[in-house]
Point group: C2
Chain length 168, copies 2
Amino acid sequence: MSDSFALEAVDVALSPMERFEEYLKSKGKRITQPRRILIEHVFSHHEHFDADALIDELSHQSKGSDRVSRPTVYRTLNELVESGLLRKMEIGGRAVYEHDYGYPDHDHLYCTQCQNLIEFQSAELKELRDQVARLHQFRATGHRFIINGVCDECQKKSRRKKRRIDLI
Amino acid sequence: MSDSFALEAVDVALSPMERFEEYLKSKGKRITQPRRILIEHVFSHHEHFDADALIDELSHQSKGSDRVSRPTVYRTLNELVESGLLRKMEIGGRAVYEHDYGYPDHDHLYCTQCQNLIEFQSAELKELRDQVARLHQFRATGHRFIINGVCDECQKKSRRKKRRIDLI
DNA sequence: CTACTTGCAAACTCTTTGCACACCA
DNA sequence: TGGTGTGCAAAGAGTTTGCAAGTAG
């Protein structure tokens, strides 16, 4: 899954690993090898991903040293979300994760053809959100805004295909 | 699940049942008893609901005359979405449906405490959406905007509870 | 040492599908 | 009558859980 890399990373004092260790300590949890492997892996790429991809990469590989089991992948993903390192969203019935820590707030364009998520930022949206919330005496803690449609790439592909058909 | 009823229904020429019959005919599908029961039931209340609620109400009841089986509930829900009568959204991993036909476009505030969906309309949001899409050469076909947080009701409840604890 | 973690297998939830019978047009 | 639709049971996808063995602190 390739993404748009238009957004700049935010400067953060601690690395994701360090931040996760803080979180674990604060909860009386332990810094274990599987947790280390998983977070290392997750923060080495900057993409949207789902649990299945992670399981393919970490669990299905036969070499034993840096293998992480399916349940541990799920358990750790939940911890990463709870600790604020990852953001989780549901698209088409499955959970999709992305970096949250060290990454600016943003929303997404979702191409229903190629399934790509394109990120964008909008200050106006945040204002609009708070304005709506205020109007309803609602204490907003977050939001999810996804614009569905067809990305530039896929539109071009469709046009090319259509032209080919027209020639017949 | 009780909702806010702030939104006015839009005038439509055909009843949902009639509209669905049109759709079925156009697809060479048949107007059957289970489909009639389901749509009648769905459009008699004006609430957000999930497949499970419908199955409880239509499938688990033992009396045989207006019973609809689980698979037929799912099959018909998909047809209702495809025909434009219902809108489907995913919240917390499960599908939630609401009336689309004869109901204005809107978005939602989602209370993470009581799970209620509160509807709101915003023309600005639509403009914002189209503006963002244009900027990315994206052909927008729809969007989903959900503001998460705590509704007025639940904030009041929390405050009452907090006060009781403070008194101890 | 002791409580927290892991991996395995199995359970669970939600949704879809194969198939024989039923039914609408 | 012929093709659709239905209900049943069972399969699937995605995720969680119980438990015995392993390991961090």
